[in-house]
């Protein structure tokens, strides 16, 4: 059993990256990707476990899906301002964000399911000798959540259909890598923290769907914060032992933010669905990134006072709560029986303030575009594809806390493919 669990986990330990609002990944389903995640009032796919567990009770029999979104981000930095506009480009990387869901109807109106996905992730890698190497070289965060859920349709009160659902969010695996150059010494050294999730962390999600008529569904869902703790080796390379001892362990706590979604799904005609979701992220919980070491690091004595002690390497983050608007459309059986097409557009505000903005996460306000399709190969099996393009607003920062100012331009391409199965 343990081997099986390890194998299962290994399949999903992947590098994930997106410069979403903060480091959230909303790409939990290829079918939802086609509508840019405007999916929280859509109850026709097993990935509703992630988007709104209330939708589970609409699913009869057995459903399953699996897929992966491939994220290819790119960022350019021009600066440092005000004396230079030299351009530096982030190292090309492609990350895979997997997902898998399954549900089983226990009885009419009551369905249980389980989802496995990576809701948070981040991956940036800049050239080792670039001008901002003391800000960031390699930053990577991976997560893996298991989300057992249950959905239930309330008895008919004569006001329309009401569905409720809830789930347990379990962060079962995560890894964090932080590396940067230490330029205060000649020759330069570097710092690297490689940590993994200490123990499973828990949260919950819950949702409700209200369908007053066949034309309209209103949805609301909430996901709680999940506080995770990572620990591992903190390595100081090419630096004097007297200031940077070897064999140090470091740990950091990262709180994945809560979120809620209010969604409206409209079906104005046969085969046609529109949905608009308003999504609120509680990023203000991410106020600092602090690495706690298991012993004193003497060289920290001289660092700025936002360092709490010689055992802590701390930087304020001061993220702010943000919102997103996601809109999607789906048309079934368009031109060809079994073919469904989707499209979407979304607007997303960055939670990162200018003050703490740095190249570890060069995000910005962004506009997302998507297209997707599903083809039912058989009545049981269908293939899903999606494509998302993320266009980041150019961000010029001249008021960062560290003085590392410049202009960032970013974009991402996110193709995805998956299969859905039902019995």
């Amino acid at each position: 059993m343990r081997k099986l669990l390890l194998l299962f986990t290994a399949l999903f330990i992947v590098n994930t990256s997106a410069k979403a609002g903060g480091f959230a990944l909303y790409e939990a389903s290829i079918r939802a990707n086609g509508m840019l995640g405007a999916f929280s009032a859509y109850a026709d796919h097993v990935s509703t476990i992630y988007y709104n567990p209330a939708g589970l009770s609409s699913l009869d029999g057995f459903h399953a899906s699996a897929g992966a979104t491939f994220i290819s981000p790119s960022s350019k930095f021009r600066g440092p301002l005000p004396h230079s506009k030299k351009e530096y480009e982030m190292v090309d990387q492609t990350f895979t964000v997997p997902n898998a869901f399954a549900s089983y109807q226990i009885k009419d109106g009551l369905t249980a399911g389980i989802g496995v996905y990576a809701p948070f992730g981040l991956g940036t890698k800049w050239p080792e000798n670039w001008v901002g190497r003391d800000e960031a070289v390699h930053t990577e965060l991976t997560s893996l959540f298991i989300n057992p859920s249950i959905g239930y349709t309330l008895p008919d009160f004569g006001i329309g259909k009401i569905q409720v659902g809830a789930g347990l969010q379990m962060a079962v695996h995560g890894e964090v890598t932080l590396s940067r150059a230490v330029t205060d010494f000649v020759p330069e050294g570097d710092f690297r923290l490689e940590g993994s999730l200490d123990e499973p962390a828990y949260g919950y999600n819950a949702g409700i769907l209200y369908t007053p008529t066949d034309l309209l569904t209103i949805g609301f869902t909430y996901r709680s914060e999940v506080e995770t703790k990572y620990s591992g080796n903190a390595m100081f390379s090419n630096l004097p032992e007297s200031g940077f001892p070897s064999g140090v362990n470091g740990s950091t706590t990262l709180t994945f933010p809560s979120s809620w979604v209010a969604a409206l799904n409209v079906r104005p005609a046969e085969n046609l669905t529109f949905e608009v979701d308003y999504l609120h992220w509680g990023w203000s919980s991410y106020d600092k990134l602090a690495i706690q070491f298991d012993r004193n690091i003497p060289a920290f004595e001289d660092l700025p006072t936002y360092q709490q002690s010689t055992q802590t390497l701390s930087r304020p983050r001061d993220y702010k709560d943000t919102w997103q608007i996601r809109a999607g459309v789906e048309y079934q059986n368009i031109g060809l029986p079994g073919l469904t097409v989707r499209g979407g557009i979304a607007f997303d505000n960055t939670p990162v303030p200018d003050k703490t903005y740095d190249p570890t996460l060069p995000g910005a306000d962004r506009t997302l575009f998507s297209a997707g399709a599903t083809y039912a190969v058989t009545p049981q099996l269908s293939v899903d594809v999606s494509y998302i393009y993320i266009r980041f607003k150019e961000r010029k920062n001249t008021s960062s806390m560290t003085g590392f100012d410049g202009v960032y331009n970013s974009k991402s391409h996110l193709p995805g493919i998956g299969v859905s199965f039902k019995l």
Partner: protein, 501 residues
């Protein structure tokens, strides 16, 4: 409805494609420096501070933060080139490197770096030459050949083709802007030797300065920015050890202070010199911490553990070795003679040399009287606590020498204030830093006039941060004087750059 759906989807696709296509990537415009000189050519003239020397060595990682390099960067002068030297750099005694960050223990790295950008086809723009004095600029007195790095730095783009003067290199560039910071070396020669070596005569200084600046202005009337000379009392090389020694002696009962060998002086009010006929004198313990009464130089550090040592004790060999070397450098004895010299012979030779110096200063009649009363050197007396075994003059500036240094520096600075287009008051900047440190709203805490903060480990040369502070002061003056708008250096983005071993 089908028609509506088709239009809706078509509309969504069109909007998406059009928004998709118009990616933001606007031209980045940098702030206008308002210098109104197209493709400005900037040349820096100076000594080791200008060259970017730190930690007693000249090496690339420090040169990149030298004030001329930072100024060129802030003005966005891309053509500015320096003679970059690989780590650990060029140094006569080896770069000072930290071996223990907690105790700040250091060592010397004896390895030497190499020039990494030779054969550039023209002179470098940073003409900062370690040990340079004002006379080197026009080199009328052929002093340039005394500077060991002359061929490496003042050349025609190739160390095999050294130029005959610094001005020759400046002239080849036909510069629009020249920063000129020479003169510190003319005084540092005196102060860094505890008053043993001479400073440049103020009259000669004035003549050389005027000739140098006139030569620059005659090129094509570039903007000439001149910097004056900081006080020796504002650099850790002279101020750091005294308070430590004072505290050390306070803990020793029965020790009133440090007995220091002195230089004989005739009174000369023009340079602030009082008469001194004493071969050695006591500096009271509290006065060692007062920079107006005494400055114990950083070079004294190695000898402090030997205080109180006598001829038959461990450590005496280091003292004996110092005095032998002192006599060799003074030309009194040869290296061979030094090798075979007994302690008694050394005592006698030092005694005779002291009397001879007295005679040079006050004449033979007075010297005869002095000799009758002078007990001479006696190494059985405790080192640094007796007039017969005094602490070497070379490591201490006494009140008289401080007065001379201060008066002559003021004379130099008064002359510097008369030349050039922009006069930057570095003397005041260094004094302010000594008193108040350097603070700025963007800094988390003030930088101090200490080694490891605004000064490098040699106590003389500014650290990366010190160089940035100097750059910002120059920018302030240029902006004020020329109506320019050169952005200042953000000190948060300057690494400390401490060499470690």
């Amino acid at each position: 409805m089908k028609l509506f759906t088709k239009y809706w989807i078509t509309g969504l696709v069109l909007v998406s494609v059009s928004l998709w296509g118009c990616e933001d990537y606007s031209e980045v415009t940098l702030p206008d420096t308002q210098l109104n000189i197209e493709d400005i050519t900037y040349v820096a003239v100076g000594n080791s501070i200008t060259a970017g020397m730190q930690h007693d060595a000249l090496y690339q990682q420090a040169q990149e933060y030298a004030y001329p390099a930072l100024l060129a960067r802030q003005m966005r002068v891309e053509s500015f080139e320096q003679p970059l030297i690989s780590s650990p750099g060029k140094s006569s005694r080896g770069r000072i490197e930290v071996t223990n960050l907690q105790t700040l223990q250091t060592t010397r790295n004896p390895n030497q770096g190499d020039l990494v950008n030779a054969n550039i086809g023209h002179p470098y723009h940073n003409l900062g030459l370690p040990d340079a004095e004002l006379s080197d600029y026009l080199n009328n007195q052929n002093t340039l050949s005394n500077r060991s790095l002359h061929p490496l730095i003042i050349n025609n783009g190739n160390p095999q083709q050294p130029l005959s003067s610094i001005h020759e290199a400046v002239a080849q560039h036909e510069p629009d802007l020249v920063t000129f910071w020479l003169g510190s070396g003319d005084m540092l020669n005196y102060t860094s030797s505890g008053g043993l070596r001479p400073f440049t005569d103020p009259q000669s200084f004035a003549t050389q300065l005027n000739q140098s600046i006139t030569a620059i202005e005659s090129l094509d009337d570039p903007i000439t920015v001149v910097m004056n000379i900081p006080s020796i009392q504002s650099i850790p090389f002279a101020t750091r050890v005294g308070p430590t020694l004072s505290n050390m002696l306070q803990a020793q009962q029965g020790v009133p202070g440090l007995v220091v060998q002195k230089t004989f002086y005739q009174e000369n009010q023009a340079i602030g010199a009082s008469e001194n006929r004493q071969p050695a004198a006591l500096i009271d313990t509290p006065d060692l911490a007062n920079p107006d009464s005494a400055l114990v130089l950083l070079t004294a550090q190695d000898f402090l553990p030997l205080l109180g040592t006598t001829a038959n004790q461990q450590g005496f060999q280091a003292i004996k070795s110092y005095w032998l070397n002192f006599l060799v450098e003074a030309g009194v004895i040869t290296q061979n003679e030094a090798q075979g010299m007994s302690t008694d012979q050394l005592e006698q030779t030092l005694t005779d040399f002291t009397i001879a110096q007295y005679e040079d200063t006050f004449g033979s009649v007075a010297a005869t009287q002095f000799a009758q009363q002078y007990p001479g050197f006696e190494f059985d007396q405790p080192f640094g606590f007796s007039g017969q075994n005094p602490f070497p003059n070379q490591f201490v500036l006494d009140a008289n020498e401080i007065s001379i240094s201060s008066t002559v520096t003021d004379i130099y600075n008064a002359q510097i204030a008369q030349v050039g287009d922009v006069q930057v008051d570095m003397h005041k900047l260094f004094d302010d830093i000594l008193k108040n440190g350097y603070n700025h709203p963007t800094l988390d805490k003030p930088l101090t006039a200490n080694i490891g903060s605004l000064f490098s480990l040699d106590g003389v040369h500014p650290s990366n941060h010190g160089q940035a502070v100097i750059t910002n002061k120059i920018i302030e003056y240029i902006n004020d004087s020329e109506g320019a708008d050169i952005p200042k250096v953000d000190l948060r983005q300057i690494p400390r750059g401490i060499p470690v071993n």
